[in-house]
Subunit: 257 residues, 4 copies
């Protein structure tokens, strides 16, 4: 029987590319996103046209029961083997004053509570089957705070530690959780593009993108996501970083003297 891969946060970036890869490899792929029903239909159509099995789901992840219902819905289509938790919580750099409590809370709901809610539904199913994978897209902000990142860093750090608690409690029962630190700008019009606006995004693409390979390419990221999901249980990775060869890692900057 087919097993399913649920992509939560499936736009024209990491989520979409990972979905495409898993569909090509034989999974039923459930693509979930907040809006743009037409875009979603098109993505589903493309996956099917390539011979894959796919379904599209609109959901507002911060709504009560939305994630829970979605997962049970997909489980009914095909057992959920893999979840790609790919909801971002980046809102650009905001000073403390420009970050209202509601914004701070929303960041946490997207980045951290949502993953917890997903885990509460799928982990028991996966443990009962003795196997399951949760691939968690994360960000530099999960490992170090920075100016203007109050909401983002606090939320993503929670996401990271949640990955560690789930791993500690369930790895030996077959749950493979991977925390993937995307340390750089992704060539993703749906997320980075929207945050920067079309002009700045195109400028960035001209400076670092294209043949320069300075932006992380979603379809190349997808290769590593798929590899992680296939690792034999004697050699699981829990955390890794991904960045362009030409980018400076988060821990490096101009040298102190």
């Amino acid at each position: 029987m087919k097993k399913s891969c649920v992509v939560i946060g499936a736009g024209a970036g990491i989520g979409g590319a990972v979905g495409k890869k898993f569909a090509a490899e034989g999974y039923h792929v459930a693509l979930c996103r907040r809006s743009d029903a037409d875009g979603l239909s098109e993505m589903v159509g493309t996956l099917r046209a390539n011979g894959g099995s796919a379904s599209g789901h609109l959901l507002n992840a911060v709504e009560d029961d939305a994630l829970e219902d979605l997962l049970l819905e997909v489980e009914a289509i095909a057992p959920v083997d893999t979840v790609v938790y790919n909801l971002g919580a980046q809102i650009g750099n905001r000073s403390l004053e420009e970050t209202p409590l509601k914004t701070f809370e929303l960041g946490w709901k997207m980045a951290c509570l949502g993953l917890f809610r997903v885990a509460r539904v799928v982990v028991p199913l996966m443990v009962a089957r003795g196997h399951g994978t949760i691939l968690v897209t994360s960000a530099t902000a999960a490992v170090r705070g920075n100016s203007g990142q109050h909401s983002h860093a606090a939320a993503m750090a929670g996401r990271r530690m949640l990955c560690q608690t789930l791993n500690a409690e369930y790895a030996a029962q077959g749950l493979h959780v991977v925390h993937i630190v995307i340390d750089g700008a992704v060539d993703a019009p749906d997320t980075l593009g929207k945050m920067l606006g079309p002009e700045r995004f195109e400028a960035l693409r001209r400076t670092k993108g294209g043949e320069k390979d300075g932006l992380l390419l979603p379809e190349k990221i997808a290769e590593t996501y798929f590899h992680l999901a296939q690792q034999h249980r004697s050699v699981w990775t829990h955390e890794l970083d991904l960045r362009s060869y030409s980018d400076t890692p988060w821990w490096n900057h101009e040298i102190n003297i």
Copy 2:
């Protein structure tokens, strides 16, 4: 003019001991806790009896405006120079199923959102004065997740990253934020004692406490808190750990082969 030190989470453990130390050193100390008006009065009385200046404040930190109102109230007594953010969010080890969404949310409100709310009020005041200190009591769970720590670790990791974002944005304007990792059991009847219950707490005291010094002593912790608050601005510490000499650090355990 006297400056004040606000202790948020002032029970018979770290909070109370730090308050006592700062009062002895000349600060006005505002002791804040959720309940036990009599115990609070007694603490205030003791500080005053020793010649210190102190006030007591009951507050439910997760209530709307409670933290904000408190800080403005204390600011009116004496400018808030130092905040000791000492609210715990430890609820013991709970499996994923035993951790309802409400519990997970409450942990985050205590550990992370509360500090953010405090920062939004006091940081502008401190920056305007060119100096201020926020001493943040934290836990091992802020740096690594573990089985049963879903709520605690996700919440404390958010707390830690928030300390880093505040430091990145405001240190150069005079804000000294310190993230203090308490890596072990504190000899604190109000928190550890309540979590374990009287019997287990007394057993722990017999095994590790007293002359064995295996439990962190609050009045000794207070010495380091006070030192941190006095560090010259050319040599600020942002993060440090505290543990008993006889305890194993969080990163050590039985050796892999």
Copy 3:
């Protein structure tokens, strides 16, 4: 033209398995080890019998010029595209008194200086070609010290930071360095087997090995090494961990209260 993959430390564990994988994928594989010419010939023979290209090289890595000469020798066979630096420096747990200066120095020479020597030879060649990969097998000891690990931890930590310095200086010129934290016992008779002795090794295999998958399987590790070497340059990984699903990560242990 074929490109070569040099495996420094090619025994019946990670090194041998990685060599086998790269040979199967079309690289010329240069297998290097300190002793056992017969075993080495047999490994080379097997790779060739499977249609691969391979050469065997005995070398004492701590001897002057040994690593340097080897690398130039292999470069003459086929350009060195990938180096797998797989020399261990584990000597079991030794108290401070049981660790003479010579032992401490030898550990550093194997773990750290050797990699530096390799880098001095191959990095200029790789940078001139605009591409090269150094896969560095590392250990838990690189990220945290522990009792009895004086030599091992100090040496492996040097190895880890050297990976970071090389990455910082040469990644943008096409050098992909990966620091791979093997966090657990590998099913490797040549290294773990020799350190434990045959009886303890067999006991370990019975307890955790075989179908239990509690020992890291070298041929499965090799899958991830190969994947890392193929990552597109827009999505390079610099550091990751590998452990059995049933093992406790290094940062977890029994909970402090």
Copy 4:
């Protein structure tokens, strides 16, 4: 009876200032440095003139037996209670090609092997007395590599892990080891001044020093060193950072997008 504090690396920077502080607090202070007998005599003279007990020792720390003999010599004056290991291994930024093997080795001998040699002599003495402190001055390079820091980072990372192994093995027997990350430029003519040369050093002082407090002041660092040595054994710190309020921490830099 007086106890002694041995300062290994006692120039006109951290070492000298820490020596002065410990002498003022009643320790016999053994100041050790490589050269400048006159400067050393003067430092000793100043400490004595202030009523302190002090001795001066010239030593080449990388020579066989030099550290060992020194420590026994001081132990004969007064039991060694505290060692301040303050030897630097910074050689400025050197590319891979500009870092010969000898330089790489020398860095390791100063940063890492030297501390190991010290530990082999003093730890048994301290354990026998049930108490001793080793304060280890360290650098940003111990926690992250960077371009040009091949020798420095590999060596200091070894130093850091050695602190952790010593802590793991001996803390419960009374050995307090502290790894102190100096994350910024110290106002130290003997080290930074020599590395930069007088002109660049004076320019740096004008830009960041003086009332700007952007350079770490040695006498202020000394306050924290002394505090650490006095921490009650129920609340020991193992690692902390020190930096100027106006400096960016090593983990922060301009934000990725």
